[in-house]
């Protein structure tokens, strides 16, 4: 009577320990997953903040370039600046100075227009490209912000107003 009972009990011995170990492993995996998720989220925040700071650094560098280009004329050559003052990034801004359409009549096709009545004589469209400075011109595939700005110039050549025609954040 007792022998069969012993045979039934022996296979069960240690089952609780195995269950406990299995439980520990399951909880460990859940904990590891939770911590990995939290860590991943916080790391992503850091990455996104760096990206945000870089975008606004490029944005500010273009503002700086706009103020510089404002003093140029329609005949000025293309150029660039390197702005290292924002958010710890060195941003290079290249610009292409495209002499724009001029009002009809005798006002010519350049900024040196003949009108002296103070009306807009020229529209100088300048394309700005901002990227992280590498010492070379901006690679089109690595442009962070690209902007097209219209400088309206009076006959005397001074810019009277700037209009942002496009402002795109690319990366």
């Amino acid at each position: 009577m007792n022998a069969p009972s012993r045979q039934h009990r022996q296979p069960d011995s240690g089952a609780s320990l195995i269950l406990a170990i299995g439980f520990v492993m399951m909880v460990g995996l859940i904990s590891a997953g939770l911590l990995a998720l939290a860590t991943s989220g916080l790391n992503n925040r850091t990455t996104l903040q760096t990206l945000r700071n870089r975008q606004y650094a490029a944005d500010g560098a273009i503002e700086q370039a706009i103020s510089q280009v404002r003093g140029l004329t329609c005949l000025s050559a293309n150029g660039f600046i390197v702005d290292s003052s924002l958010n710890g990034f060195a941003i290079r801004v290249d610009w292409i100075n495209a002499c724009g359409v001029v009002q009809s009549g005798d006002r010519g096709t350049t900024a040196a227009a003949s009108s002296s009545d103070g009306t807009v004589a020229a529209q100088r469209n300048v394309v700005f490209s901002a990227c992280e400075s590498t010492g070379a011109a901006c690679d089109p595939t690595k442009v962070i912000v690209r902007a097209t700005v219209d400088f309206q110039q009076a006959a005397a050549g001074a810019v009277t107003k700037t209009y942002v025609q496009s402002w795109s954040v690319n990366r």
Binding site: N2, R6, R9, S13, G14, S16, L17, L19, A20, I21, F23, V24, V27, G28, I30, S31, L34, L35, L37, A38, T39, G41, L42, R45, L48, Q49, R52, N53, Y56, A57, D59, G60, A61, E63, Q64, I66, S67, R70, G71, S85, L86, N87, K161, T162, Y163
Partner: protein
């Protein structure tokens, strides 16, 4: 014979149960600790995201306000929506233009000199986010 076997079986089961209880207790402690950590990390993450949204909104509002500038004038920065609970913002001029902390109202920069601003957002649990921007008088 029967008594001895019965005693041994009971003893083994008790030890197993005790071990199991201890292990499960420790495991639950670890589980709760990790849940608490994950919860705190989630809160920190949420605050960080909100801080990012606030500082971006503030930057865009500042740039938009500066677009109305005329040389020698002022511009007023109005945060576009209600600030989330526990958040506050400040804006200060750190460039050569102006002096001292300007909050909400800025002096328009000269046409040829962009204004360098530092935006700072303070949030719950000591969150601080700082970013520099430049604004121009168009």
């Amino acid at each position: 014979m029967t008594t001895n076997r019965s005693t041994r079986d009971v003893g083994e089961t008790l030890i197993e149960v005790l071990f199991t209880i201890v292990i499960v207790g420790l495991t639950f402690s670890a589980l709760f600790a990790s849940l608490a950590t994950a919860g705190n990390a989630g809160i920190a993450q949420r605050n960080s995201v909100q801080g990012d949204v606030v500082i971006r909104n503030y930057a865009e509002a500042t740039k938009a306000a500066a677009q109305t500038c005329v040389a020698g004038g002022t511009y007023t920065v109005v945060y576009p929506t209600l600030l989330p609970t526990g958040f506050s913002t400040t804006m200060s001029v750190v460039g050569t233009i102006g002096s001292g902390g300007v909050v909400a109202v800025g002096t328009c920069p000269p046409v040829a000199t962009p204004q360098l601003l530092t935006l700072k957002v303070t949030g719950p649990l000591g969150l601080q986010s700082t970013m520099q921007i430049k604004v121009n008088t168009p």
